[in-house]
């Protein structure tokens, strides 16, 4: 027994030593963490207003790059405004409502919430208002924020963004596209595809994929492209899916082109290289930043944007080969 323990320990030490040696020998001359640190993010000074506690509650599924950017925006606003930011998220409507209740129990000074499932949020938001907590909506809920009596809204109209997307496809002469939806039963994603379908003169097919499983996303799109050779455009609703669709198009013979909603760092490079034709950006960083900053303004000076009547639109902003270079510098920081 003792002997075996010793053998185990020796094996462990040997493994550690090997790992250390590999780390020391395997430095990369480019890229990696060092290069990332050299590109500094945005930083402003810091307000001397009293410390506030603001809860940000989203419907983000874990592991979506889009929400990283939203959170970065929220974080930099929080750092500047002397705000203690409490972030939580859950894709299920009922659970998200519970998180709002949770924030109310914590007696936060403000709540920024996404209304992807507006009906499910109604009760919890009414409670927040009853408790005297100001609530702003962002990213989703353009139709409902006013009727729920929220302070302001930051985001884009998904259907209008979809329509703009469809028009752009007409301009570049697309004939037949598939709109790839990565999460079954997500209202905002459906609204985008509906918008594309509305203005696009050719044929639009919807394709459902399982967004939490990239290999299956890749093969499903490839299979669809092989099955119907008349498809000349793949429309994806998130940057990671666009990059996967590029590979699917290659697998299927490379005839179909890719265009997408939403950006991330790698997607900017893909637009530069021509792998992805264009992207529609709704500026997630701005959404996160403004949500927090607006609550700070409201708390300290009673200001609110849009006069309680009109939303503050953060998109659609088209990113094409012509203007991508200016955005690339910001995208490197992971803030666009």
């Amino acid at each position: 027994m003792d002997l075996r323990l010793n053998r185990h320990r020796r094996a462990g030490l040997a493994a550690l030593a090997t790992a250390a040696a590999l780390l020391a020998a395997g430095c990369s001359s480019q890229g990696g963490k060092k290069a990332q640190e050299a590109d500094s993010g945005i930083a402003a000074g810091k307000a001397d207003t009293p410390r506030l506690r603001i809860a940000m509650i989203t419907h983000a599924a874990p592991g979506d790059t889009f929400w990283d950017t939203v959170r970065k925006g929220a974080k930099s606003a929080a750092a500047k405004d002397n705000v203690d930011l409490v972030y939580s998220s859950n894709p299920s409507g009922a659970d998200q409502a519970n998180l709002i209740q949770n924030a109310i129990n914590q007696k936060v000074d403000g709540i920024a919430v996404t209304l992807a499932k507006p009906d499910a949020m109604k009760g919890a938001i009414a409670k927040a208002k009853k408790a005297g907590i100001p609530v702003v909506a962002f990213n989703a809920g353009l139709e409902q924020w006013k009727s729920m009596g929220l302070l302001e809204y930051f985001g884009q109209d998904e259907n209008i963004a979809g329509q703009a997307f469809g028009k752009h496809l007409n301009e570049i002469g697309a004939k037949h596209n598939i709109c790839v939806i990565q999460e079954q039963g997500h209202v905002a994603l459906e609204a985008r595809c509906a918008g594309v379908k509305k203005t696009f003169k050719g044929k639009t097919d919807t394709l459902y994929v399982n967004g939490t499983d990239m290999p299956s996303v890749k093969s499903t799109i490839a299979a669809k492209l092989k099955q119907d050779s008349s498809i000349d455009y793949v429309v994806t609703l998130g940057a990671p899916f666009a990059l996967t669709a590029v590979q699917s198009a290659k697998d299927a013979g490379g005839k179909a082109k890719v265009a997408t909603f939403d950006l991330n760092k790698d997607l900017v490079s893909a637009v530069q290289s021509g792998d992805v034709q264009f992207a529609v950006d709704q500026q997630p960083y701005l959404q996160g930043y403004l949500s927090i900053d607006s609550l700070w303004l409201f708390k300290n000076n009673g200001n609110f944007s849009g006069g309680g009547e009109k939303p503050v639109l953060t998109g659609p902003a088209f990113v094409t080969k012509e203007n991508v270079d200016t955005i690339a510098t910001f995208a490197k920081n992971g803030t666009r």
């Binding site: 874990p62 409490v86 972030y87 939580s88 998220s89 299920s92 409507g93 009922a94 409502a97 519970n98 998180l99 209740q101 949770n102 109310i104 129990n105 914590q106 007696k107 499932k117 009906d119 499910a120 109604k122 009760g123 999460e183 079954q184 039963g185 997500h186 209202v187 459906e190 459902y208």
Partner: protein, 356 residues
């Protein structure tokens, strides 16, 4: 799923062997309490509660506790039915999406027929019971393990949820039925709030406890309860002594159907519209809650009170992490760690109890 008869299953707790009279009665009472399946879960629940009581100041408030109880109740009602099924020796992986199916059925049927919402509610109940019946019949007729049978029905329901919703509403969520006849009545039954000492508590908490009491009574005081233990402990021996095993299993699957209907109705009347894609993955939480509560994966052992405690632990962990303001990126990781610890405490307590 294998059916190895555990010693515990051989004698269901309903008829404990008479303790020897040589010891004091007090000692035998303590012994009997320690031999209960839920005792480990009770210790774990107290541990988790104290942990968050210290770690998160907000957790100590009454309204926070009401939030925790609410979260535990919707899961707990399902966990109760799932624990009965597991004691009966079977799994149901379709339980998570079945909740959504039921809510979708009630909502869309009422809306499309412009009927009183109670029509939708009743039809949804029939549909949910039918799903349970089909699961049970498939299990018996095919002889496949329930893990496989219900995995298939899980995927079928998930697809049907989306496809039928899209077909009828051209959308992925149902239309709101808040302004239709009977909505308010149904809301007061399934989704109202009751004031307890000045704190609003959701009615599901009350229903959860009522159902738990019924389930406990059935398990420990009725013939059917004995059948459940027997069917889960050893199918062949149970058949040999005249237990209608097939009937018992079908009834258990239908019980899960009933619970799915109830929770589905709550979601519908609490949140007004139903998203077609929700509910996936919850089936594992129900199973976890049952296991923390002392159910064995092999069947024939467990308790309804244990499932209540299991769901309560889950609710505390779920909300407690947020109250404690831990980094949300680690949320699932913390949940996993907590559940592992709770299960280990449970196991350890049970071993201690067995050793005496």
């Amino acid at each position: 799923m294998t059916h190895t008869a555990t010693p515990a299953a051989a004698t269901p707790p309903a008829s404990p062997a008479a303790p020897p009279k040589s010891r004091t009665a007090e000692r035998s009472l303590a012994r009997r309490a320690l031999a209960r399946p839920e005792i480990g879960a009770l210790v774990a629940a107290i541990g988790v509660y104290l942990f968050f009581f210290v770690a998160a100041p907000t957790f100590r408030q009454a309204d926070s506790f009401a939030t925790v109880l609410y979260q535990a109740s919707t899961m707990g009602i399902m966990a109760l039915a799932v624990s009965l099924l597991m004691i009966g020796g079977e799994f149901d992986l379709s339980a998570g999406v079945a909740v959504t199916s039921s809510a979708l059925t009630a909502s869309m049927l009422s809306f499309q027929l412009t009927a009183n919402v109670w029509v939708g509610v009743i039809v949804a109940l029939l549909v949910s019971l039918a799903v349970g019946l089909i699961n049970g019949l498939l299990l018996i007729k095919t002889g496949l393990p329930s893990f496989l049978v219900t995995l298939a029905s899980f995927l079928m329901l998930q697809g049907a949820n989306l496809a039928i919703t899209k077909l009828l509403t051209d959308n992925v969520a149902t239309d709101s039925i808040t302004d239709m006849d009977g909505f308010d009545q149904a809301k007061s039954l399934f989704a109202s709030e009751i004031g307890v000492f000045g704190v609003d508590v959701k009615i599901t908490v009350l229903w959860w406890l009522i159902f738990a009491a019924i389930a406990t009574w059935v398990l420990l005081r009725t013939k059917f309860g004995n059948w459940i233990f027997a069917a889960g402990g050893s199918k062949e021996s149970a058949r040999a002594v005249g237990v209608p095993v097939n009937l018992t299993k079908i009834a258990l699957f239908m019980t899960v159907g009933f619970a799915a209907w109830f929770v589905g109705m709550h979601l519908l009347f609490e949140y007004n519209t139903v998203q077609a894609g929700e509910g996936v993955g919850n089936e594992f939480y129900y199973i976890i809650a049952a296991v923390i509560g002392g159910c064995l994966l092999t069947g024939g052992y467990g308790s309804a009170i244990g499932a209540v405690l299991g769901a309560f632990i889950f609710g505390m962990v779920n909300q407690g992490i947020v109250y404690a303001n831990w980094n949300p990126d680690w949320f699932k990781f913390f949940v996993g760690v907590m559940l592992l610890l709770a299960t280990l405490v449970n196991l350890w307590v049970r071993r201690q109890a067995a050793r005496r």
